[in-house]
């Protein structure tokens, strides 16, 4: 075994990847099943001169990471369903003020306190529409532990490139699994940092669209002395109620993701070449689905899987293509159909959608998915 190979849990990999991506601030609050991420960060961040702070509540944790990021330090928080709900107010602030940061949500059953120690994929829609108002969204859903490391780094990169909060959605299984992993060399990592202004302070506007849809971002204390607000604002960062400016700003923010969708969408095909039945899956559910595909193939069933590593934005064009060709699409989810509802809109009546919605807190067994595959024939 290579020297660099060792055991990691999903939670530990989030922490390790965050630090490798340059994260030097973690504002946290204990909540199952994400607490291990906070614990690892509290051990590891001071070693690299970074800050771990346990705030008084989830709202404060979210506020603190926005503050730290504005001061130029890449920041992470981690939580689970109820805490994710509490953070939504300040997540909205981070969208509005365009402050890069990463929010890791280790999903558990809900609503309310729900199933604190059990598995769910209950916050797919909360990740998209949790805060009030319209905004772009990027959410990543790793299914394997190697992927946790890779996608955590990607989450930081997206947040820095597009100047926005990014959601990293783990589920309880992914956070708590451990496996032996050989992590990539740090020198091989691609780390992105926010674009800094190239103009002197007197010519700087924090939301200047002259440089494209993602304005360059000055950090606090670097001489730029600008204003940041959660109110609708113009390019100077000061509040405006001018309908045209507000409209243009909202459209630009949505465009940050929409016009870069091909650089963000991320999915994996498995056994798709001749597939007539297609499974759409994400997160830990995709692991069981993959076994089901293998077992169905042994029975001669032409089934394949499209797995979303990035759940928002979805690869719309690819999905539309499959919806018009597939005999059936099966969507196993550990919620009541949060992705299925969206896919049904793409599919219209061109194919049938078979939903598997388990919310009892235990993984969807491959044999269950296999039975639905057989039904679909």
């Amino acid at each position: 075994m290579k020297k660099s190979v060792r055991f990691y849990s999903g939670a530990e990999l989030v922490a390790k990847a965050a630090i490798d991506a340059g994260c030097r601030f973690f504002g946290g609050y204990p909540i199952t099943p994400s607490s291990e991420i906070a614990e690892y960060m509290s051990h590891e961040l001071p070693k690299v001169g970074g800050t771990y702070i346990q705030m008084e509540d989830e709202i404060a944790a979210m506020g603190s990471i926005i503050g730290a990021s504005l001061a130029g330090v890449k920041s992470l928080t981690a939580t689970s369903g109820p805490g994710f709900s509490l953070k939504q107010e300040n997540i909205g602030y981070a969208y509005m003020a365009e402050v890069p940061c990463v929010i890791c949500n280790v999903m558990r059953g809900g609503p309310s306190t729900g199933l604190p120690t059990a598995l769910a994929q209950a916050d797919i829609m909360q990740a998209k529409w949790g805060t009030h108002g319209d905004h772009p969204v990027i959410a990543l859903t790793p299914a394997y532990l190697e992927e946790v490391y890779e996608l955590t780094i990607k989450a930081f990169n997206f947040s820095e490139i597009y100047r926005m909060p990014v959601m990293l959605l783990l589920d309880e299984v992914i956070a708590h699994l451990s496996t032996a992993i050989d992590l990539p060399d740090k020198e091989m990592l691609v780390i992105k940092n926010r674009r800094k202004p190239s103009v002197p302070p007197e010519k700087y506007f924090p939301y200047d669209t002259a440089y494209g849809d993602v304005p360059p971002m000055a950090n606090f204390f670097e001489g730029y002395r600008y204003h940041v607000t959660g109110l609708s604002h113009d390019k100077t960062g000061f509040p405006t109620t001018d309908p045209e400016l507000v409209q243009a700003d909202q459209e630009r923010q949505i465009r940050k993701v929409k016009s870069n969708i091909n650089n963000i969408i991320d999915y994996e095909y498995y056994q798709m070449k001749d597939a007539e039945i297609i499974i759409f899956a994400y997160g830990s559910t995709a692991r069981g689905a993959r076994v089901a595909v293998d077992n169905a193939r042994k029975l001669g069933i032409k089934v394949g899987m499209m797995r979303f590593r990035v759940i928002w934005p979805l690869p719309e064009a690819e999905i539309l293509k499959h919806c018009s060709k597939a005999k059936a699409i099966i969507i196993p989810e550990m919620n009541m159909g949060q992705l299925s509802d969206v896919i049904e809109r793409y599919a219209a009546d061109r194919t049938k959608i078979l939903r598997i919605n388990h919310v009892g807190g235990v993984p969807i067994h491959p044999s269950y998915i296999l039975n639905v595959i057989k039904e679909a024939i």
Partner: protein, 283 residues
């Protein structure tokens, strides 16, 4: 020589949005004079605020300014301070912002004794939203949500800050701008969490509903109720009804000796965290 407020103001944002005669202007002036007193570089200062009339103050100051969500200013400020401990972080908040929706953040910022200064402008009401009662509206007074008289007991923000662990706590009224300036300056100089409460008039909302709808009568109401802390200490509890106690409730020197705080470590939070970094790196 007249004080050059222009040095610290974003003059293109003036006139401000506050009502004529509002007390917040006095507090802003006291703050700007205090900045001059401590001699900090504008680039090194972040002003943070929440939501409400007071929270609009940072927008007028030519520093790094952050207008956040309602009640949450201290959480953003804590992130900034921990990210850049050698920079200065100052927070503006109103009574509703700091002690109702932001009450939890308020006591915990005090508890950490993190090196920041919080100025709470207490005008006894939610001015911006139409004059509803706040945690500091005195008993019996009328607001748009207590037309029969307020029955909610009031917070004494200074007592709260003191009990929670802040290392400099003082209150002055907007009738005495120079005293306010002195306290804010001491707050900025204090290495730890400082809370300065500025009792201010909101004649437009709180005043109007209590027969003092102009700045003069609202400020007279404040003046009539002001009792210096030294005098208040000698008065009986039942004499301290509907009063505004002013003075320095706690200074850093007191912090180090007072018995009330027996379980509080006498450290400032960013310093304590620096020691954590040293420990972690030695291992």
């Amino acid at each position: 020589m007249a004080f050059e407020y222009e040095k610290y103001l974003r003059m293109d944002k003036i006139p401000h949005l506050w009502c004529p005669g509002c007390g917040i202007g006095v507090v802003l002036k006291a703050m700007l004079r205090s900045l001059e007193n401590v001699g900090w570089e504008k680039n090194d200062i972040a002003f943070v605020s929440g939501i409400g009339c007071t929270s609009r103050a940072p927008g007028y100051i030519d520093c790094n300014t952050l207008h956040t969500t309602h009640g949450r200013a201290l959480t953003f400020a804590t992130g900034i301070k921990m990210a850049k401990p050698d920079k200065h972080v100052v927070v503006f908040s109103g009574d509703g912002d700091a002690t109702a929706i932001g009450g939890n953040h308020f006591i915990h910022a005090c508890r950490r004794n993190i090196d920041m200064t919080l100025v709470v402008v207490n005008n006894n009401t939610y001015g911006m939203t139409g004059g509803q009662h706040s945690p500091t509206t005195p008993i019996g007074y009328k607001t748009s949500t207590t037309v029969y008289g307020n029955i909610d007991p009031t917070f004494d923000i200074c007592m709260l800050a003191k009990a929670a662990g802040a290392s400099y706590v003082a209150r002055a009224t907007v009738n005495k701008g120079k005293v306010l300036e002195k306290y804010i300056t001491k707050g900025l100089e204090n290495k730890g969490f400082s809370v300065i409460v500025a009792t201010a008039n909101c004649h437009t909302q709180f005043g109007r509903k209590n027969k003092m709808g102009d700045p003069i009568s609202s400020r007279k109401w404040i003046a009539d109720r002001e009792i210096p802390l030294e005098k208040a200490r000698e008065m009986k509890a039942d004499e301290l009804n509907d009063v505004i106690i002013t003075g320095e409730f706690i200074t850093d020197e007191q912090e180090r000796t007072r018995w009330e705080n027996y379980n509080h470590p006498i450290h400032e939070y960013t310093d304590a965290y620096k020691k954590i970094i040293e420990k972690a790196q030695k291992k």
